[in-house]
Symmetry: C2
Subunit: 440 residues, 2 copies
């Protein structure tokens, strides 16, 4: 690369506002991954301070000397301000102060963006600085860049989002277990998927804030929380969920942003989604955003919409973008080959396998094959035996059986040797197939 | 906005190389959406010429005066060169000429990037220009920006991609119909999902080129086609697919890029994917890229991986990015509110509904309800009647039944009036639920 090394540059000063579930992960990753982040950002990223309400509370992995209750001066001295404190004030005032001081702002504060986004964007435009908010829409799921940049040459017609993990978990549980709403919410609370007061989630208010941001993004129009019609899942019964299944649907709480002949509509409500729609397969606490675009057709973005580490991932992606913009003047899709890792042959890949055999159908064969695999150091996860439809004959009076063996992880090389040895066993007639198993 | 109007600026000159399935859509969209693209790009985008092999072939929607066989001078005069001709030469030479001349390059040429990417990136680095290639990886699916920018603060561990629509269609058909490979390929050919010579798809070579690009992207390392171990679906049998189902899996052709302790591995092969994995739900000719990242966790990007309009959408997104970078110096996440559409109330939203009623179980009730809906102008898509488990009594000697009505699209207002009228009908005991249907 022709540019000077990233470590030669003046460090960029990062101020962190808030050190809760997300902030502590941001602080950890900024520190632990400092060298890699510097290479990616084009300059070292220096965490210069962490604004908290109470400095006497220890924060794991954060140098206590960085903690301060005096956020103002911290903001004034920063190149990049990361706001993960949430809530209205002091977040709003501190963000405006950062903008006025010329710092780039990275925020995960969906409620504030949904209510005060237009004012914040206007202030940033005025000051010529950037606000990044990938973490505010759907946690770790990249949605801001895809919609704003990748689809910049297309027209978005409609966005359907499962953007609240709590309600998706609750509806999913109702669907798989037949539980009623209250029982499913109680279970979600026990497992930490729902707050003690679940109103913001169950009432659809969290999803409504995200609907406002999604609508603004998709249609390049200022949509605020007040514009969003909001209906939660409180009226959904076990019967509704059961009847949905009977008619080939699942119930999902959707945040919807839609281009209509008259303008833009944004709303949140439960809806029946056809069982074969990609959104129907979004299970548990996962989130997904489904986009219908004129030329691109249907797109879906899927991932974790909440949680400390996933949200911190989105925040740090924005921090790197903000830093690159400062250092390189926004050089866009640079070819970044800073890692330059060796490429290893596929035969060293470690994966799981499913091996299908045709064996003589007599007692002890399964044990014999399992024994051989164990001798070869290949660990079995599951074995299944099923009679073959090939009729018994003179040579094979007891007929043949299929043996389906699923292994734990093994290298290609280890497996190849094992398959050869299995094929040579007396009761084995045929190795019917060897397939790798991925995603498990 | 404080910046000058986009139409005040000097137009950016766009040269189009190739006018086939993708190129003709790019030309159409550049022309039809000129005003919107100018607003998004920050300057008008002027299509200054289209290089083709034979100017005598008419291209629908393209001004014949723009066609030329002399691509060189066209490239020399352009600010942005869009390469959608495919193949090796002359594409490679023209891209290098564009780079040397200081133009930004947008390409959909996966084969060329997989083989010669490193040389092209090096040339672009040297000249200080950008190469954009969102369309080369998975068609319309935004994957370059999410991986390169949104995940810039994270570590990608593994990428699993369904990146070839033809083989996914074929495997999906084998799975749903029990067809053998040859029959499924023949059917895909009849429907236009497979080429007359399906070798590049079925043999995994198309997927291998994408695996090389995905691995380079995910691990910031130069991986070329030669590094990718490639196995197609030619050995997959109807039995393999049937047994996969019996053991809770589906067979998918995967492009895999993986971080291993020793470096990076890239490979393409068929694999068993658990039926509840998000990739298992990717049906027909759709593509998806599943990413496992350290902090973000599991992410998936889903959409159309091929076709004229979807690929053109990705190309135009890149053209707008390239233009913004030229005009605004790469100002990143600008708040773009150029559309400023009115926000309409949710009650004007037009959607489909499923209404569940409890009615007296006697002949003619269904017809009576259907008649009323027709009178109100609400069109019925489906009605289903099912006996209620409430026992018959003195008042309801014939018992009660559930009536589940799914409507075609209607406004909220029209539906509200209709539900009221239905509730007033004599045999209707209860409106049990009214739910919207989305995604159908």
């Amino acid at each position: 690369m022709s540019s000077p090394s990233s470590t030669d540059r003046r460090p960029l000063r990062v101020a962190l506002l808030g050190c809760g579930v997300v902030g502590s992960q941001v602080a950890r990753m900024l520190t632990e991954h400092a060298a890699d982040l510097a290479a990616r950002a084009g300059a070292p990223l220096e965490l210069v301070g962490v604004a908290v309400r109470d400095v006497s509370v220890p924060r794991e992995g954060v140098d206590p000397a960085l903690l301060t209750t005096d956020a103002g001066p911290l903001v004034d001295a920063a190149d990049i301000v990361v706001e993960v404190m949430g809530g209205d004030e002091p977040a709003r005032g501190l963000m405006l102060r950062a903008i006025a001081g010329g710092a780039a702002v990275v925020t995960a504060n969906k409620a504030l963006l949904a209510s005060d986004g237009p004012a914040l964007y206007a202030a940033a435009d005025e000051a010529g600085v950037d606000i990044y908010f990938e973490a505010a829409v759907a946690g770790a799921i990249p949605i801001v860049r895809p919609v704003r940049e990748s689809l910049a040459g297309d027209y978005v017609r409609k966005v359907l989002g499962i953007v609240n993990g709590t309600t998706n978990y609750v509806l999913d549980q109702m669907s798989t277990t037949g539980l009623g709403l209250d029982e499913a919410v109680a279970q979600a609370q026990q497992l930490g998927y729902a707050e003690a007061d679940p109103t913001a989630d169950v009432g659809g208010h969290d999803a409504a804030a995200k609907a406002a941001i999604l609508a603004s993004l998709a249609f390049h129009t200022r949509v605020t929380l007040d514009d969003v019609a909001c209906e939660g899942i409180t009226s959904i019964t076990a019967d509704d969920v059961a009847w949905a299944a009977k008619t080939g649907h699942v119930v999902k709480l959707l945040a919807i942003a839609e281009r209509t002949p008259d303008g833009v509509s944004a709303r949140v409500h439960p809806a029946l989604v056809p069982a074969d729609h990609p959104l129907a397969g979004v299970r548990g606490a996962f989130n997904a955003v489904f986009v219908e675009a004129e030329a691109a057709g249907d797109l879906m973005f899927y991932g974790q919409g909440a949680g400390g580490a996933p949200t911190a991932s989105a925040v740090l992606g924005d921090v790197v973008s903000a830093a690159r913009h400062r250092v390189l003047g926004g050089k866009g899709p640079e070819e970044s080959t800073y890692a330059a890792l060796p490429v290893v042959p596929a035969s060293s890949a470690i994966t799981r396998y499913q091996v299908r055999l045709l064996v003589v159908d007599r007692p002890g064969v399964l044990a014999q094959v399992a024994h051989l695999l164990a001798d070869q150091g290949v660990s079995i996860e599951a074995v299944r035996q099923a009679p073959s439809d090939r009729p018994a004959g003179v040579d094979e009076p007891s007929g043949l059986a299929h043996l389906i063996i699923t292994t734990h992880t093994a290298t290609e090389a280890a497996l190849a040797g094992t398959v050869e040895a299995v094929a040579a066993l007396d009761p084995v007639r045929e190795i019917t197939s060897v397939l790798r198993v991925e995603g498990a």
